[in-house]
C-alpha cells in the first residue's frame, strides 16, 4: 500500500470541535451533558493543554447557566464556547436570544447538536430556526475536518461581527470519527472590557438601539454567506432539476455520485443566513428544485413561501424525502431515482433489544419499593423525568406516567395535586433535580402542595455516560435549604434488604397532605466502574 495522506488525528465530530476551540485560544468551555454533544466538553476535560492553560471545563447546572457563564467570559474579552444538545437550547434560549441583542466582546461560539431520528432524545427539533430567530450567523459542517475548520474560524467571525456564532451539527457527525488536521495554536486572550458601557445593559432604551444595530448587521451576514467558501455552487448539465443540499446530506450526495461531478447543478449551504442570490440563480436556471437538508424542511419552507410563484420544489415537504428522521445515502438516492432495494432482508427471528437498566442498578430497587407502595391505588399518578430512570416506563416496572422535559416531574406532579389527584409522586434524578427540578420544588414548598418527591440520587449524570453531578455531596443540604419540612424529609437506601422499610417510609409520606421529599441514594454501577478504572 502506498502512502496516501498525511497523518492527522482520528477524531469524532465532537472532538474536532473541542480541539479546534482549544487551538483557537479558548479560555472557557461551558455546557451541560446531552447526547450527542457530551463528548465536546469531555474531550476538553481530558486535554493536557486545557489543564496546562487552565481553560474552564467543568459542567454547569444547566444549559442556561452555561450560556450565561460563557457570555460573562466573552464580556471580559476572552473566547468562550457553550455546548448542548438541541433541547438544551430551549432551556438556554432566553440567554441565547438576548446575547444576540447585547452582542459579544470576546468571540463566543454556541455549539448545538441536533438529534434527527431521536436516537436519544424526546424530539428532533432543528436548531437552525433558533439561529434565524436570534438573527445570528450559523455554521453547519458536513465533515469532521469542517467541524474543526468552522470552529477555528468562528471565534474570529464572532469578534468581527460582535455577535455570538452558532455551530449546528447532527448525531451522525458528532459521533463519527475521521482524520482531522489541525491549524496553528493561537494564544488565549487577555481581559479587556467592552468599550461601550451600555452594550450589555438591556434597558429598553439601550435594547432598542442594539436591536436596530443587530438588524443592520443582517446585510453584512448575508454578504458573508455569499462570500463564504463553505457555500458552494457546482455546475451540472442536467438542468431539469437543481439541488440544494445542506449539512451531512452533502456527504450522501457525493456518495451517490462518487464525488462532486454532479449531473445536476448543486448549491451547497453550510453558512447561514441562506445565501439568497445563489439559490435564486439556481432557481432561474432549473426547471425544479430538490432540497436535501438534515432536519426540518427549513430551506424548503423558505422557498415555498405562501404565494405560489410556480416554482417546483421537492423535498421533505413534498414527500420526495421522508418528512421525519435522519437522511441516509439511501433516502437521498431514492429521491434522485436510484434503486436502493436491498439484497437481504432482516429475518423474522430478529427480536428487538431495547435498553434496560444495568444489572444491580439502584433505580431497580427504587422502582420496586415505589410500585409496592402504590399497589392497589388506581388513582395514583407518577410523574417522572429524563434520565436512566425513564426506563421505569418499560416492563417489568411500568412505573411511570410521564416524561416530558428535564424538570417537568415535580411541576407536573404539583399541577396534578392542584387538580385534586392523590397520591401524586414525582420521580427525578439528582442531576435533573439540580438542572431544573429545584425551582419546581420551590413552587411546591411555597404552597405546601401534597406531592411526594422521590429524588433518585445515584451520584452521577448517568444517562449521558456517568458525568459528575453537581448535586453530589450536597443534595440533602440543598433540599432542606429550600425549606422542606424536616419531618417529611427522608434519605433511604435502595437495596433489597431495605425494601420493606422503604415501602413503609413512602406509604407514610403518600398519606401526608403536604410536600415530602425522599432521597433514594445509592451510586450508579457505571459511575463506580469509571471511578475505579
Amino acid at each position: 500500500m502506498t502512502a496516501l495522506i498525511e497523518q492527522g488525528t482520528l477524531l469524532l465530530g465532537d472532538e474536532a470541535i473541542a480541539q479546534a476551540a482549544l487551538d483557537a485560544g479558548l479560555s472557557g468551555a461551558y455546557g451541560y451533558p446531552g447526547t450527542p454533544s457530551t463528548e465536546i466538553i469531555e474531550y476538553i476535560q481530558k486535554a493536557p493543554e486545557a489543564l496546562a492553560g487552565n481553560v474552564h471545563r467543568e459542567w454547569s447546572a444547566n444549559e442556561k447557566t452555561a450560556m450565561e457563564e460563557a457570555l460573562g467570559m466573552s464580556y471580559c474579552g476572552l473566547r468562550s464556547m457553550v455546548t448542548m444538545k438541541h433541547v438544551g437550547l430551549n432551556v438556554a434560549s432566553d440567554a441565547f436570544v438576548n446575547s444576540a441583542i447585547t452582542g459579544v466582546n470576546g468571540g463566543m461560539l454556541v455549539v448545538v447538536a441536533d438529534d434527527p431520528s431521536m436516537h436519544s432524545s424526546q424530539n428532533e427539533q432543528d436548531s437552525r430556526y433558533y439561529a434565524r430567530f436570534a438573527h445570528v450567523p450559523l455554521l453547519e459542517p458536513a465533515s469532521q475536518q469542517e467541524a474543526y475548520d468552522m470552529t477555528y474560524a468562528a471565534f474570529k467571525m464572532s469578534e468581527e461581527l460582535a455577535l455570538p456564532v452558532m455551530l449546528r451539527l447532527t448525531t451522525r457527525l458528532a459521533h463519527s470519527r475521521a482524520e482531522v488536521r489541525r491549524q496553528p495554536v493561537l494564544p488565549k486572550g487577555k481581559v479587556v472590557f467592552p468599550t461601550n458601557k451600555r452594550q450589555f445593559i438591556l434597558l429598553p432604551a439601550n435594547a432598542r438601539r442594539n436591536y436596530v444595530a443587530l438588524l443592520d448587521k443582517q446585510v453584512r451576514l448575508r454578504s458573508l454567506s455569499l462570500e463564504s467558501t463553505w457555500n458552494e455552487s457546482y455546475d451540472g448539465t442536467d438542468k431539469s432539476c437543481g439541488i440544494i443540499v445542506a449539512g451531512v446530506a452533502f456527504n450522501y450526495l457525493k456518495e451517490i455520485y462518487g464525488g462532486t461531478q454532479f449531473p445536476h447543478p448543486v448549491v451547497r449551504v453550510s453558512q447561514y443566513p441562506v445565501p439568497g442570490e445563489m439559490i435564486t440563480r439556481l432557481a432561474r436556471e432549473c426547471d425544479e428544485l430538490l432540497v436535501i437538508e438534515e432536519g426540518y424542511p427549513f430551506i424548503e419552507e423558505m422557498l415555498r413561501g405562501i404565494v405560489d410563484m410556480g416554482l417546483k420544489v421537492r423535498g421533505r415537504l413534498s414527500g420526495a424525502l421522508p418528512r421525519t428522521g435522519e437522511l441516509s445515502p439511501d433516502s437521498v438516492g431514492a429521491a434522485l431515482g436510484f434503486d436502493t432495494a436491498a439484497h437481504f432482508s432482516v429475518p423474522d427471528v430478529v427480536a428487538m433489544r431495547p435498553p434496560s437498566l444495568c444489572k444491580g442498578c439502584p433505580h431497580t430497587d427504587s422502582y420496586l419499593f415505589l410500585n409496592k407502595a402504590l399497589e392497589n391505588r388506581a388513582m395514583s399518578r407518577v410523574f417522572s423525568d429524563i434520565g436512566c430512570y425513564t426506563l421505569g416506563a418499560l416492563p417489568p416496572f411500568d412505573a411511570i406516567n410521564s416524561c416530558v422535559d428535564m424538570g417537568a416531574s415535580i411541576t407536573m406532579a404539583k399541577g396534578a395535586a392542584d387538580a385534586g389527584v392523590r397520591p401524586v409522586v414525582a420521580v427525578i434524578g439528582d442531576s435533573t433535580f439540580t438542572h431544573s427540578g429545584i425551582t419546581g420544588l420551590l413552587d411546591a414548598i411555597y404552597e405546601n402542595s401534597p406531592i411526594t418527591v422521590l429524588i433518585l440520587d445515584n451520584e452521577a449524570t448517568a444517562m449521558t455516560g456517568a458525568q459528575d453531578s453537581i448535586a453530589t455531596g450536597r443534595l440533602e443540604r440543598l433540599v432542606l435549604g429550600l425549606g422542606v419540612d424536616p419531618e417529611h424529609f427522608h434519605v433511604v437506601t435502595p437495596l433489597k434488604n431495605q425494601h420493606e422499610k422503604n415501602v413503609e417510609v413512602l406509604e407514610r409520606e403518600l398519606a401526608h397532605e403536604g410536600t415530602s421529599v425522599i432521597i433514594s441514594k445509592r451510586v450508579c454501577i457505571q459511575a463506580t466502574k469509571r471511578n475505579r478504572g
Binding site: H175, E255, A342, S345, P355
Partner: protein, 198 residues
C-alpha cells in the same frame, strides 16, 4: 482498496475496541477512515452498531449505503442479522455463535443458524470459547477481529501492532494475549474459507 464493515453487538461487548483497532491500523497504513457509531444507551444492554469505512480514496458518507457493506461483523449471533439489508451480494456475515440473552423472546439458536445458512457467505463460530480456551474470555472481540481480518486487505502485522498498542496500558502479558487471540480468530476464518473452497 475499499472495505465497508458494519460491526454489531450489544452494549458493553467491546465493538468499540474492534472499530478502534481497525481504524488506527488503517490510519497508520495511510488509508482514509470513517467510523460512525450509534451508542445512545449502550451501557444498558441495548443493540449497538458501528459503521466502519476504510478506503484508499476519500470517503464521503459516514454511513454505509444499503446493500454495499463488504462485511457484517458481529460479536453476537442475532445482532448481525439485524443489519443484513446493508450487506452486499458478495459480502460476508461473520458472527460469534455465543448468544447474549438479555431479552425474554430471544430466538432459538436453531432458527438463528437457519438464517445464517440462507446466506451465501457466512462464518459463525464460538469466539467466546476460543478466547476462554486461550486464557482471556474478555478478548472475545479480538477473536472476532481476527476472523474479520482475513477478508480485510491489510497486513495482519499492522493489526497486531494496533492491538498491542491499544492494550499495552494493561501490561505486556494482556497485550500479547490479545494479539494471540486475534491470530487464532484469523485462523478460524482461513480454515472456514478453505473448506468452502474445497
Amino acid at each position: 482498496m475499499k472495505c465497508d464493515l458494519i460491526i454489531a453487538g450489544v452494549g458493553g461487548q467491546g465493538i468499540i475496541s474492534i472499530a478502534a483497532v481497525l481504524a488506527q491500523a488503517a490510519i497508520d497504513a495511510r488509508l482514509y477512515v470513517k467510523q460512525s457509531e450509534i451508542h445512545g444507551m449502550a451501557q444498558r444492554g441495548g443493540a449497538v452498531h458501528s459503521h466502519l469505512r476504510l478506503s484508499s480514496n476519500p470517503i464521503a458518507s459516514d454511513i454505509i449505503p444499503l446493500k454495499s457493506a463488504d462485511m457484517i461483523l458481529s460479536v453476537e449471533p442475532m445482532e448481525a442479522l439485524r443489519y443484513l439489508p446493508y450487506l452486499s451480494r458478495e459480502g460476508w456475515a461473520i458472527a460469534n455463535a455465543t448468544p447474549f440473552e438479555n431479552i425474554g423472546n430471544y430466538p432459538s439458536m436453531d432458527t438463528i443458524r437457519a438464517a445464517y445458512d440462507a446466506l451465501p457467505r457466512h462464518i459463525l463460530f464460538d469466539a467466546d470459547a476460543l478466547a476462554k480456551e486461550l486464557g482471556s474470555p474478555r478478548s472475545m472481540n479480538m477473536a472476532m477481529l481476527g476472523a474479520a481480518s482475513h477478508f480485510v486487505e491489510m497486513p495482519p502485522e499492522a493489526l497486531a501492532k494496533a492491538i498491542h498498542a491499544r492494550f499495552i496500558s494493561k501490561g505486556e502479558r494482556i497485550a500479547e494475549l490479545n494479539v494471540t487471540i486475534f491470530h487464532a480468530g484469523r485462523e478460524v476464518a482461513k480454515k472456514a474459507t478453505e473448506k468452502s473452497m474445497a
